[in-house]
């Protein structure tokens, strides 16, 4: 069982290197995982409370759930009720949605989220918690009408999810051309102060410019980094060594 699952993993990794788009990754995930009943994928970084749910989902590295479900999930605020999300910071190993439900206990909202997911074709799932270099929590969920994994297969999925996530990050950052982003000195300085927790007013004081001037620099930074807000801009800049 070990050998077979390891061979499956190694076979997957060989094909993963050649993936240049998220769609490529999805196809080889299907090739290897459909046999376990897995048909749908969500992978992304959890960017913290400042980012709205719609933006969190918008930043997902891979999202193949039906769009009607995504609309419902967003409209109903399910991001805040989904029991799998808080578990990303609590459990280190893959967990099933059944296990997430058991932990949620009497939480009716949690039951509703997972119950409705079932109506959209994702009755069962496994979520793999991940943590990035930047210290962010992330997750990779695998689901389908019926997902059955033996313990050794769960280990295999843990490895597959980690490598797939790393490749999806590479793909996304390559497409954003982040390797070649340069920040102007004032832009870098402004972002560095943000990273250290200073308010716009404080930064203006330190740099001898108005708050508007600070905001002007931050807008430029967000645009260059493809970040939806300053928190994400700091995270991306740290990852690329643009600020220390």
């Amino acid at each position: 069982m070990m050998r077979r699952n390891l061979d499956l993993t190694l076979g997957f990794l060989k094909l993963l290197d050649r993936c240049v788009t998220a769609e490529d990754v999805r196809q080889i995930l299907n090739k290897h995982l459909n046999q376990f009943g897995i048909t749908t994928y969500v992978a992304g970084v959890v960017y913290g409370p400042k980012l709205r749910p719609r933006e969190q989902l918008g930043q997902a590295l891979l999202y193949t759930m039906p769009s009607e479900w995504r609309r419902r999930y967003t409209a109903q605020g399910y991001w805040f009720k989904d029991p799998t999300i808080p578990l990303l910071g609590i459990i280190r190993d893959p967990f099933t949605w059944g296990e997430a439900m058991d932990r949620a206990g009497e939480d009716a909202a949690a039951r509703r989220v997972l119950g409705e997911a079932g109506e959209f074709g994702m009755a069962q799932g496994v979520t793999v918690p991940l943590s990035t270099l930047e210290g962010d929590l992330a997750g990779f969920s695998f689901s389908g009408p019926r997902v059955e994994l033996a313990p050794a297969e769960r280990s295999m999925l843990h490895v597959v999810a980690t490598y797939a996530f790393a490749q999806l990050l590479l793909i996304r950052d390559a497409s954003l051309g982040l390797d070649s982003v340069t920040l102007a000195p004032r832009e870098r300085e402004t972002l560095q102060w943000v990273a250290e927790g200073k308010t716009a007013w404080e930064i203006g004081q330190v740099m001898g410019i108005s708050e508007k001037g600070v905001e002007y620099h931050l807008q430029a930074v967000r645009a260059k980094l493809g970040a939806v807000n300053s928190t994400q801009a700091v995270a991306k800049a740290l990852r690329y060594g643009l600020i220390a």
Partner: protein
């Protein structure tokens, strides 16, 4: 700065190596609860701390604040002798491959939730040393939670087996190749591309 210590210069680092044994005991026995490594004198030394071992000491002044050990895979090491159950693939054992173990950062320098910056200094030191000494691959047993970070650092890590639960953690054995691109990436994360190794005398060459 990182000081590379092995049999030929260990005599000049007696005080620092004492700090190393105690740091290892604090981190692995007291911190991680690996009681099988416990020693009555509080100095964690094992059967692989032989003249072939290479010790990487990250120093702040005279204090050892972080540490890693490399063992030649040509000789006995953890994956070959203690945890062969982690490997279903053939274990690389050659002069270009060293096993990386006992990665430790002093508790005062830890940061919750992410790897402390000192970890990247250690990584840079090991990669830099490897590139100067014909070493291009490390083997290691790492918690699954570290694997993504390793891949993000541009180590070309390959699993040697599936993860196994050891002392409540999911551990995987990997063989990871590195090169100049890896060093560039680590230095990008560190925000410093200067050498982190204290000047290395010629007799330390592997």
């Amino acid at each position: 700065m990182i000081h590379v210590v092995n049999a030929t210069n260990q005599g000049e680092y007696l005080n620092e190596m004492e700090q190393v044994w105690r740091l290892r005991h604090r981190v692995f026995v007291e911190g991680k609860g690996w009681s099988e490594l416990a020693k009555p004198d509080g100095r964690e030394i094992d059967q692989f701390d032989t003249p072939s071992a290479i010790h990487f000491l990250l120093m702040r002044g005279r204090e050892v604040v972080a540490y890693s050990r490399l063992l030649p895979t040509a000789g006995p090491h953890l994956l070959s002798d203690v945890f062969p159950k982690l490997c279903q693939e053939p274990l690389p054992r050659d002069h270009a491959t060293y096993e990386w173990t006992r990665q430790a950062v002093s508790p005062e320098y830890r940061v919750r939730g992410k790897a402390p910056p000192l970890t990247y200094d250690l990584v840079a030191g090991i990669v830099e040393w490897g590139l100067s000494n014909g070493v291009s691959r490390i083997t290691a047993q790492i918690p699954m939670s570290y694997l993504l970070r390793m891949l993000q650092l541009h180590f070309r890590a390959r699993p040697l087996g599936l993860p196994v639960e050891i002392a409540g953690e999911s551990i995987i054995a990997v063989a990871a190749e590195f090169d100049g691109a890896t060093l560039a990436r680590v230095n990008q994360i560190r925000g410093d591309s200067r050498s982190i190794l204290a000047s290395v005398p010629a007799y330390l060459v592997a």
